[in-house]
């Protein structure tokens, strides 16, 4: 699923485009614990989180995650947005909670990242 289609589905706003046009999201990881995210084969995945810290972008970079979706309309520090731009990681925000987002994406055909 293209990022703009995901944004349309979950009423999201794309803050940092990254490589959005070329990425096709097939898997999702929903977590606020970064060590947990690192356990998954999350290459090219979408990370759904409510954690608005720069380390979310670091984790995405280390784990080759393509895009981060911030839920609950959480405000993001400038540092976080700048780092996402620098690392070419797409960043999106939605006012919806994680459960609704995950439910809609699951129904939309996306599947969970698998543990390595």
């Amino acid at each position: 699923m293209k990022l703009k289609d995901i944004a349309g589905l979950i009423d999201g706003e794309i803050i940092v485009k990254g490589k959005a046009d070329s990425i096709d999201i097939v898997s999702v990881c929903s977590s606020d614990l970064m060590s947990d995210v690192l356990r998954f084969a999350a290459k090219g995945a979408l990370l759904v989180t409510a954690l608005n810290q720069t380390q979310v972008i670091r984790t995405a970079e280390i784990a080759d995650i393509a895009a981060v979706l911030m839920v609950l309309g959480k405000k993001m520090e400038k540092d976080m947005i700048e780092l996402a731009k620098e690392k070419n990681i797409a960043l999106m925000v939605t006012h919806l909670p994680a459960f609704t987002v995950c439910g809609m994406l699951y129904v939309g055909g996306l599947r969970s990242c698998l543990e390595e």
Binding site: L33, S35, D36, L38, R39, T54, T59
Partner: protein
Amino acid sequence: MNVEGCFQLMGGDFTNAGAASSELKSTLSKLGVSQDIIRRASIAAFEAEMNIIIHAVAGTMHYVVNNGEIRIILTDMGPGIEDIELAMQEGYSTAPDWVREMGWGAGMGLPNIKKNADRFKIDSVVGEGTTLEIVIYMRKD
């Protein structure tokens, strides 16, 4: 191939936390190391780097790439680990609540490092600090 580097790490510096591992990752990419090896090395380095940011006053990350392996050595001035066996258990953590609220400290760090390393050694003295040595082979043989 013989490439090495060293980074200074400051305890509590969550803004720059992960920058050293990020740089290690990009260095390994430039060296043409395979994707799977880069992933394992950078995840192990990142977890170890975060441990220092969370628990220690300061520390260093030193890496050497040669003889077909990546060796990452992290040394810190921190509280030390009282019971290493316990610290290796998934879910065990001594991190305070505020660290948990930052998305860390759920007791997965050391197990994640071990999982991604080919060789892994911890030396720790309570009240002085901890040294981690992580080795990842670049070839399967």
